[in-house]
Assembly symmetry: C2
Homo-oligomer: 227 residues x 2
């Protein structure tokens, strides 16, 4: 399967609805972005649905004080940007590229037309929206937890998407400076550093060559879940 076909298959939760998939794929166009280039800004009207073919897209909020909050990190196979398509409201977040990146863009008009022709697509995207809502709820629930726990949880979440199992444990194949973890957890780089080293001291994670290794996923999960 070509990487583009793989990307399309990742748009669907289980079985791809053939007609709809074809309609969307026909109208998609490729867009290339350089490192740091803006895909869209918060407040823009929706250009379309986005699928990442190569590279990485950051989905962020910029506080009035300049502080950046990192809501999403989308790698190859990920789709996003549907919210503004459904409610016709401005983009809720900025999106820009990390490294050389290629995305597929299904223009809004084509997206709407395809869905009108294949209404069962609405049901699918309703499920997608639900999943995002549940994730948001979970993060909100964890607000009161100490930073160490929230960090461990986030690492497990990242590993679920970007983890590569090896003999030593689960590698995060992702450029992930501590600064970014801080931006995800609304914390400071220093605090992340401290917690990360606490996890290292407990033998749960390790850092080798700038990448993170989850050495004991079971124990991490236990620490995060039922104490």
């Amino acid at each position: 399967m070509s990487d583009e076909a793989l990307l399309w298959s990742r748009l669907w939760l289980d079985d791809a609805p053939q007609g709809l998939n074809a309609a969307l794929a026909d109208s998609a166009r490729l867009r290339r972005l350089h490192d740091g280039e803006l895909l869209y800004a918060k407040g823009d009207i929706a250009s379309g649905l986005i699928g990442v073919k190569r590279g990485l897209i950051r989905n962020v909020h910029l506080g009035s004080d300049g502080r950046e909050l990192l809501f999403g990190l989308f790698g190859p196979g990920s789709w996003f940007g549907e919210i503004s398509l459904f409610d016709d409201a401005p983009r809720p977040l900025h999106a820009y590229a990390m490294g050389e990146t290629e995305v597929l863009l299904v223009p809004s008009a084509a997206f709407h037309a395809a869905l009108e022709a294949h209404p069962q697509g609405y049901r699918h995207f309703a499920r997608v929206l639900c999943r995002k809502l549940r994730v948001a709820f979970e993060v909100l629930e964890d607000q009161t937890q100490p930073l160490g726990l929230r960090l461990a949880k986030r690492l497990l979440d990242l590993a679920a998407v970007y983890g590569e199992p090896t003999a030593e444990g689960l590698w995060l194949k992702l450029p992930l400076p501590q600064e970014d973890l801080a931006r995800m957890l609304a914390a400071t780089r220093q605090s992340i550093n401290k917690e990360l080293r606490a996890l290292t001291a407990d033998g749960l994670v390790a850092v080798k060559g700038g990448r993170l290794l989850l050495r004991d996923v079971e124990n991490l999960k236990r620490r995060v879940g039922a104490p």
Copy 2:
């Protein structure tokens, strides 16, 4: 218009799709709840879509330490509970009554059947889900703001739903102990008390007879928005 007709009209954002509305209304049944009675628990499979006819429903998360987080407060005219219907996953939160309460419940099976017959309903509910997602995003963005700001913002949000304009200002016609504000903002009662009195000192709000009065909505908004 009867209060029940009013409730149904509130299910839709703009114009009610007649056929779908009728189908849902036909299958809805009334359920009466006493003060504190559980409507559903987190983890339950979805019973159906809920509309509040009379009283108040609290939508909460219970932390393992017993701490309660208040995610939603639904009064007459409010609908909720659609998430689990669309993704067939367990309820993400508990829901229970405050005071004598009556709700309409559209059973899951009937809900699905009605939507299959009227697929344009999916589009509507997708919009509803989007709105909830945006609210969640905003709360997440405000994580780093000082408590005073978050409180002011929340009061304005509450006023948008439960506010009653008078000569003195905007009354919150809602039983709202400081403890509940604390549970909404993941703070303590004491901190809320302090911030509330700061707002009172600035003449922005007032408490009379246990209810809250927003005396200067304009200034509150200014304080919250562009400084």
